[in-house]
C-alpha cells in the first residue's frame, strides 16, 4: 500500500517536471519578442478604448507609439501627466497634446423653444426618427432630443436635458468623436476647449423661416458680426459662425445684443 502511494506520487511528480520542462522549452523556442515598453505605455494611456485616436483601442495606439508611427498627441483623452510618463518610458521629448478639443452640440432648440410639428412614437433613437419625415421637429436641422449621442458617449459627457436637448459637459468630454457620427443631424462639432462662446444654431434657412419654428435660432441679423472684431465672427449664408481659429471673447455673448440669445457662453448653455 505504501509503495503504491510512493510510486504514484513519484510518477506524477516526474511527469510534472517533464511536461513543465517541455512547456518551458517550447515557450523559449516560439517566443514572440515584444517590446517591454508597450506594456508600460498601455498602462500610461487612459485605457478607455474609446477609439478617438482612430486605432482599435489603447493597446493598438501603444504599439504604434512605441514603433514611432504615432505620437501620444493622437490620443484625445491623454492628460499631460500621461504624456510625461510616456515620454519618460520612451526617453523622448514630451509631445504636448495639441489643442484640447471638446464636443459641442450646436443647437439650442429644446422642446420649449422649438416647435414640434408632429408626435413621434417610433423607435426611441435619433437615427430611426429621422427616417420618418426627417424627425418631428419643425426645424429640420435641430436636435431631435432622443439621446443617441448620449448613449454612445463612453464618458457620460452628454446630458439630455428635461426638455429634450443634448448638452455636452466640456469637463467630461475627451473629444473622442463618437457622438459626431451618432448625430443624424450632424449638430455636434469638435471645437477648441479654450473657445467658450458658440452660436447654438445649425439651420441654414432664412431668418423668417427659422423664427416660425424656433425661438432661439440664429436669424441672421449680423449683430454679433458687427459687434465683434474683424474676422472673429463670420456669416455663412444666414447663419453666424464663430471663427474658432480667432475666437471672440466670451463677453460678446452679452455684448452682441443677439435678439434670440442664440450666441451663448458654454457655461450659460448648461444652465
Amino acid at each position: 500500500m505504501f509503495e503504491l502511494v510512493v510510486l504514484s506520487v513519484g510518477l506524477i511528480v516526474c511527469m510534472g517536471i517533464l511536461l513543465g520542462l517541455g512547456i518551458g522549452l517550447t515557450a523559449r523556442a516560439f517566443e514572440v519578442k515584444q517590446d517591454p515598453r508597450i506594456e508600460l505605455v498601455i498602462d500610461a494611456l487612459p485605457g478607455a478604448n474609446c477609439g478617438g485616436c482612430g486605432l482599435a483601442g489603447c493597446a493598438d495606439l501603444a504599439k504604434a507609439i512605441v514603433a514611432g508611427k504615432e505620437t501620444v498627441a493622437k490620443c484625445p483623452v491623454c492628460t499631460s501627466e500621461g504624456a510625461l510618463k510616456i515620454a519618460e518610458i520612451l526617453g523622448t521629448e514630451i509631445v504636448q497634446n495639441t489643442v484640447r478639443n471638446v464636443a459641442v452640440v450646436l443647437c439650442g432648440g429644446d422642446n420649449k423653444n422649438a416647435k414640434l410639428e408632429a408626435r413621434y412614437n417610433g423607435v426611441n433613437d435619433c437615427k430611426s426618427a429621422v427616417l420618418v419625415s426627417s424627425g418631428a421637429k419643425g426645424c429640420k436641422y435641430g436636435c431631435l432630443g432622443l439621446g443617441t449621442c448620449a448613449r454612445v458617449c463612453p464618458f457620460n459627457a452628454i446630458e439630455m436635458t428635461d426638455n429634450g436637448l443634448a448638452v455636452v459637459h466640456p469637463e467630461l468630454c475627451v473629444s473622442c468623436g463618437k457622438c459626431i457620427n451618432a448625430c443624424p443631424k450632424k449638430l455636434i462639432k469638435l471645437v477648441p476647449e479654450a473657445v467658450k462662446i458658440h452660436v447654438f444654431c445649425s439651420s441654414p434657412e432664412k431668418g423668417p423661416a427659422k423664427m416660425k419654428v424656433c425661438k432661439v435660432a440664429c436669424i441672421g441679423c449680423r449683430k454679433c458680426v458687427k459687434n465683434a472684431e474683424e474676422n472673429q465672427m463670420s456669416m455663412i449664408g444666414f447663419l453666424a459662425q464663430v471663427n474658432y481659429d480667432m475666437p471672440p471673447p466670451p463677453e460678446l455673448a452679452d455684448a452682441s445684443g443677439c435678439p434670440t440669445k442664440c450666441i451663448r457662453r458654454t457655461d450659460d448653455n448648461l444652465k
Partner: protein
C-alpha cells in the same frame, strides 16, 4: 437561397376599409390657382430644370428633363407662370419645386396632339414616348417606367404582368380606374407588351374586386391577355409576390424581376402609357383615393400632380374630426406626413386621414420570440431576430441575415404581439447597410 416558398407563404389580411370609397366614381378635381410640382419625384437622378422664374408655360410643357438614365422628366400640370420654390416633400424635407401660378386658361402645349397613327409605331418609338412623358411606376415605387422597359440584352423578357392587386387596405384608386377606364388599361398593356415584344400578358387582381375582374375579362376576351384573380392577402401586390403567384417563378436574393423574365407594371401606369403614346399627354394627373375615418366624403379623384394636400382635403369635403395620422399611400406602407402643404406626387395612390380609433399608438416591448413575424414574412426573413441585431447596431450581421431583402411591407409589425416597430428597425438597418457600402 430562395426568397419565396413554393406557395405564396405568409402575408396578413388587415381590415380592408375599401368599402368607404370603392363605389365612388372618379371625380375630376377643378382647376386650382397654384400647383406645386416637386422636381425629384422618382427613384434615380434628379431632373434638370429647364424653366426660369417668371416663364410662361403651357399645360404639359416640360419643366425639367430627365437627368440621367434612371430619371424622369416633369411637366406643367396647367398653363401659367413659373415660380421657383422650396416646397415640403413627402419625406419631410424641403425640396426643389416649381410653383405654377395658373392663368386660368388651362391651355395645352402645341406639341400635345392626338396621334392618329399610334397603332403603327415600333417598340422603340413607344419607349421614347413613355420616357418623354415622364412616366414612373404609379403603384408607389416611382421607378422610371421606361428603364423597366429597357432591360439589358442578355435578359430575355417573356411575360408582362399588370398589377391590379391593390392589396393595401383603404385604397380604391386602381379599382376604380380598372372599372371606369378598362379600355385604357388594356390598350396601355398592349402597348407595353409591344415595347417589350412579349406575348404573355397577365393582369393580377385580388378577389375582393369581382366587378373589375368581370369587366376586364369581358374586354380581354379578344386578345391574349389573361386576367388572374388573386387571393386577398397583403402584400399580394408586391412585385416579387405577384410574380410568384402568377407565374410560379421565384426572384432570388438581390435579383430583379427581369432576371426571371418578368416585367411588372401598375394598372395606373398602363393607363398613363396609353395617354402618352396615343395622345402624347405627359404624366400630369393621376387617380388618388382620399379616405379614412375623418374624411367627410371619402372619394376617388383625378388630381393633377402638384395639388397640395390642403386642397385635396377641401375637395373631399373636409374633415369631421381631427385626424390622428395623415398618410400618403396606404396604411401599411404609406408615409406619415407632418405638413398639409405636401403636394400629390406621381406615386401618391392615396391620401389617408386616419382617426384615433383607426391607428395604434403604443410603445415597444422586448421580443418574446414567438416567431409570428417569421410566419407572415412574405420574403421569409426573421424580422424579430433582425430587429434585435439592428437594435444592437450589428449591421454586418443584419446584412448577412438578408435585411436588404426586406420589402418593408409591414406584415411583421402588424402581427407582433410585443408591439415592436419592426419595419422601422428594418428601414434603419437597410439605411445603415447602404451607408456602409457607400463608405467602402
Amino acid at each position: 437561397m430562395s426568397l419565396i416558398a413554393r406557395h405564396f407563404r405568409g402575408g396578413v389580411h388587415p381590415q380592408e376599409g375599401k368599402e368607404l370609397s370603392c363605389s365612388k366614381p372618379i371625380q375630376i378635381a377643378p382647376l386650382l390657382s397654384s400647383y406645386y410640382v416637386i422636381l425629384h419625384q422618382h427613384i434615380g437622378a434628379p431632373p434638370k430644370l429647364l424653366v426660369k422664374a417668371g416663364d410662361d408655360v403651357k399645360k404639359g410643357q416640360v419643366l425639367a428633363e430627365s437627368g440621367g438614365f434612371v430619371s424622369a422628366s416633369v411637366h406643367a400640370p396647367t398653363s401659367g407662370k413659373v415660380k421657383l420654390v422650396e416646397w415640403p416633400g413627402p419625406s419631410g424635407t424641403k425640396m426643389k419645386a416649381v410653383e405654377i401660378i395658373s392663368d386660368g386658361k388651362d391651355e395645352w402645349d402645341a406639341s400635345i396632339q392626338h396621334d392618329p397613327n399610334w397603332e403603327q409605331h415600333s417598340g422603340e418609338e413607344i419607349k421614347k414616348r413613355i420616357a418623354n412623358a415622364g412616366i414612373v411606376g404609379m403603384g408607389g415605387a416611382a421607378f422610371p417606367t421606361f428603364v423597366k422597359l429597357s432591360p439589358p440584352l442578355d435578359k430575355k423578357i417573356d411575360t408582362l404582368i399588370l398589377n391590379g392587386a391593390e392589396c393595401e387596405p383603404f385604397l380604391t384608386a386602381d379599382h376604380r380606374l380598372m372599372l371606369e377606364n378598362a379600355e385604357k388599361v388594356v390598350t396601355g398593356a398592349l402597348l407595353l407588351a409591344k415595347a417589350l415584344s412579349v406575348n404573355k400578358i397577365y393582369i393580377g387582381i385580388e378577389n375582393n374586386k369581382p366587378d373589375a375582374i368581370e369587366k376586364l375579362k369581358e374586354i380581354t376576351n379578344k386578345n391574349n391577355i389573361v386576367v388572374v384573380p388573386l387571393r386577398v392577402r397583403y402584400p399580394q401586390g408586391a412585385e416579387k409576390q405577384l410574380i410568384y403567384a402568377i407565374t410560379g417563378r421565384e426572384v432570388s436574393t438581390g435579383k430583379l424581376p427581369m432576371d426571371v423574365g418578368c416585367v411588372v407594371q401598375n394598372v395606373g401606369t398602363a393607363a398613363a402609357v396609353m395617354d402618352a403614346v396615343v395622345d402624347l399627354i405627359p404624366l400630369i394627373e393621376r387617380v388618388t383615393t382620399v379616405t379614412g375615418g375623418t374624411v367627410c366624403n371619402p372619394s376617388n379623384w383625378k388630381f393633377r400632380i402638384g395639388t397640395p394636400l390642403y386642397k385635396v382635403l377641401e375637395f373631399a369635403g373636409g374633415i369631421n374630426m381631427q385626424p390622428a395620422k395623415i398618410l400618403l399611400g396606404g396604411p401599411m406602407m404609406g408615409m406619415a406626413q407632418s405638413s398639409l402643404d405636401v403636394p400629390i406626387m406621381k406615386n401618391t395612390s392615396g391620401v389617408l386621414l386616419l382617426a384615433k380609433e383607426e391607428i395604434a399608438q403604443y410603445s415597444s416591448h422586448p421580443c418574446i420570440r414567438c416567431g409570428r413575424c417569421a410566419d407572415v414574412c412574405p420574403m421569409l426573413l426573421m424580422a424579430g431576430t433582425l430587429s434585435l441585431m439592428i437594435e444592437s447596431e450589428n449591421f454586418d450581421l443584419a446584412e448577412y441575415t438578408n435585411v436588404m431583402d426586406c420589402i418593408e411591407c409591414g406584415s411583421c409589425a402588424y402581427v407582433c404581439p410585443a408591439l415592436r416597430p419592426l419595419v422601422q428597425h428594418m428601414k434603419r438597418g437597410k439605411a445603415e447597410v447602404i451607408a456602409n457600402k457607400q463608405q467602402k
